[in-house]
Structures are given as C-alpha cells and as structure tokens.
Symmetry: D2
Amino acid sequence: MRLKDDIAAFLVREFPQTKVTVEAVGGKAATVRHKIGTAELRPGGTVSGPVMMAVADVALYVAILGEIGLEALTVTTNLNINFLRKPSATHDIIGKCTLMKLGKKLVVGEVTIYSEGREEPVAHAVGTYSIPPRKES
Amino acid sequence: MRLKDDIAAFLVREFPQTKVTVEAVGGKAATVRHKIGTAELRPGGTVSGPVMMAVADVALYVAILGEIGLEALTVTTNLNINFLRKPSATHDIIGKCTLMKLGKKLVVGEVTIYSEGREEPVAHAVGTYSIPPRKES
Amino acid sequence: MRLKDDIAAFLVREFPQTKVTVEAVGGKAATVRHKIGTAELRPGGTVSGPVMMAVADVALYVAILGEIGLEALTVTTNLNINFLRKPSATHDIIGKCTLMKLGKKLVVGEVTIYSEGREEPVAHAVGTYSIPPRKES
Amino acid sequence: MRLKDDIAAFLVREFPQTKVTVEAVGGKAATVRHKIGTAELRPGGTVSGPVMMAVADVALYVAILGEIGLEALTVTTNLNINFLRKPSATHDIIGKCTLMKLGKKLVVGEVTIYSEGREEPVAHAVGTYSIPPRKES
C-alpha cells in the first residue's frame, strides 16, 4: 500500500488538474480510474475522447513510477490510441496498464480502457515514455 | 466567416467542456487555439500532455466539420501523437490541421502543434475519424 | 484444420511474395511464422524492421480472414509498431494476433512478435483493417 | 553528391536485401525510391503494404544518416503508418521524409509516400529512431 499511496500523492502534485486516481500499482502494471460525471460527457451520452487519452497517459505514468520511483522528469514521447466502442455515460472509466519494455532510456506499455463492469474494452493505447538518466546512489 | 462561426457554436454544444477555440477553418484545414493558464500546467512549467492530445483531436474534428458539415456522429477511431519539445508555459497552444484523405468512411489528417510564436513544433499528431453514411439530400 | 488450410492457400494467392506462413487461426486470433535466413538479416545479426512489420500485417490479415471468410478486399488502414528488443538472428519470428474489435467496417487487433522460444517480445503492433460491405447471402 | 553516394553505399551494406534506393538527402530530409515490379504487387494490381512500410522505414533512416553520419546502431523504435489510397501498379513508390525533431537520443520524422507522378499521397508515416550516444571527437 505504501507504494500506491506515495504515487497517488506524487500524482496529485505533478498533475494537479487530473481527475485520474490510482487503484493499484506494481509488478510492471497499474490500474487507474477516472470518475465520470457531466463534465466528461458529450451530448448523446458518451465520454469525450480526450478523457480516455488522459487515462491512457496517466496509467502509463503510474505503472512506470511503480518501477523506477518518483521521477517527475519522465515524459511521454509517443501515444497511439484506438477507440473501439462507445463508453458508458454512467460508469467510471478504468485503465489497466502493462509495461512491455522497461529499458534504460525508453519504457513502452499498453493500456486497455474499460467502462467499469463491462467486459469489452472501449479503447486501447500503446505509449512510450522517455526516462532521464538514473542518478547514481 | 459564416462557416467558422457555425462550427465554433457547434463545438461549444458538442464538447461543452473543451477550452479549444476555432481560429480558422476551410480548404481541408483548420487552426485551433487552447488558452494556457495554471490549469494546464504541470510543476516545472510545462503544458500537460493530455492538453495537447485534446488540441489534436479537436483540430481534426473542426477541419472535418469544415468539409462535411455539422455532423455530431463523426468519431475518432485512431490518434497517434509524438511529443517533440517542451511547450512554453506562457504561450497559448496552437494546432494546425491538414486533412490528407477525405474518404466516404474515413478521414485522415495531421496536426502540428505549436507554442504560439515559436517556429518549431512541440508535438505532431495523425488521426483518423470515422464518418457516418451521408444522408441523401 | 480446414479453415487454416483454406486461409494458407488464400494467403499464397493474395500475397504471392510473402514468406509468412499460418501456424494457427480461429477464435478471433492467429499465429504466423516468418522463417529467418540470411535474406532477413542485417549486419550485426539482427532481423530487419520491415520483416517484423510484414509479420504484424499478415498476422492481422489472417486473424480477420478467420472471422469474416476469404475476402481479398480487406485492406490495412493503420499500423503502429513498437520495436522492443533485438530479435535473434537464428530463430524464426512468430507473430501472435488477437482481435480487439470486429466491427462492420473496421477491425482492430494487436500482434505480439517474438523470436521463437524467447519469452519477451521483440515487437508489438496494433493495426486497423477496413472491411468491405458484407454481401447478402 | 558525396553525402548521397556515401549513404547509398552504406545502405546497400546495412540493408543488403532492400530494394529502396536514395534519390536525395540533406537539409533534414530525404527522398527514396522503390522500383515496382511483379514482386511488389498483389492480385488486383496494388502494391503490398509491407513494401510501403519498408519505404517509410528506409526514408527515415536515410534522412537521419544525412544529419548524424553513417551510424549503423541507429534503430527504429516506433513507426505509425496510415494507408490513404490504392497505389498504382505501374509506377515506382517514392518516399519523401522530413525530420521534425533531431534530439540527442531520439529523432522523429514524417514520410509522405507517393506513386510516382501522382499528386495525392498513397500513405503517410511517422517514425521514431533511437540514436546511440555520440562519440566524442
């Protein structure tokens, strides 16, 4: 729990505007949540695309922090997202990230995005983060 | 000006939360602006990645509306974004979209994203939108 | 086995140059193989990037044919690939595809690419195919 | 001409199988050509997708070599390609690359791909290469 709490606090500090919260982190993986209210909806009752992009970006960031420690200088270099199905207007968005490569300079991971409680994903993203040179200890 | 005003009004209705505004539209292209204030910044003075993703998404949407008319059912299917340079914390973000393909089912365009007044882009995105079958007139 | 053999024969006809062969297909998934010989290698003993892109493209195509039947007009619209690790020069390349969305117009799937016998993937791709309107039967 | 000839010779050595040739290089840009014959065609008279992916990959590689010098350890980390129109079966494929970012660790560029003599592109790619640490001189 310690790691999760540390990362949650760090996230609030680094991304003060984000509505994404940490559900789980560790083992080269992370799960995050974005509460869905009227501010996230478009007419017709669907979740805005940029909300899902933010979920993908933060899920990757959290999974990486879980491996390399609290490192603000880690930045996204590439994000590719496919929108698969219309999300529910009445359920939170959940993003589940798995890291596929944890290199010295680059980290690559994928994020599957769900409307909570549904089996089929609403979107899928793959992203790359660049990590700064590690400090010697 | 009529087209631009119509699309600007439509955008406010369809994306009520967006802070992106329309600067120009027409000729398979569009320019949009995202005002940058403290709500868009991360500690260290850089613009949040999801802000730039939203600019890319809306720039594409506006350019497409400029060609096919006000069509709410047009949805993003894929967006790929590369982050190139650290954006300025004190200048608005400008997105310039050019459509590369305007098909019956799919539209593909690219968006170059700048900190206003700088020559070198801060990000570059390519996206695909799916458009619903055209109504017979 | 019938489906696999039919698709293997169709693949030879549609992609007469491809060295990719079908290992398994069905259940919204497919596994393909690319034999690696000197023609696929670069100096230093690594497999050429375009070889892995071809594996990704064909793996998606085979998985889709397994669902919609032998349909030559199915075409790639987008492919995004991340190269994760240096492939082995002495093992075949294996691509394992899973379809994430099987829509009426678009199919989206992911492909994890391995050097045979290794646990960690050498590349990962996500692609979209456009499928022609289904014939009424 | 010296730079172009050096890179052309280097390309033959590093990618001994490639059919891509260098047309022009310099100024953070490159133009390459892929001759189209029956070996590149699919039934129905279209150029195979993997041929265009190879053109994109090599165009980026050539543009980068033009900036950093002959460096075999430069490797693709990400490539995203959109297929826009059916290529001609009777014209060579031309790839025109422009680099958008030339960083110390990562280079990002875009490639527009044409059937020679046609105005509208058949495909568009964006790719990232990782470059090894520069040697001190």
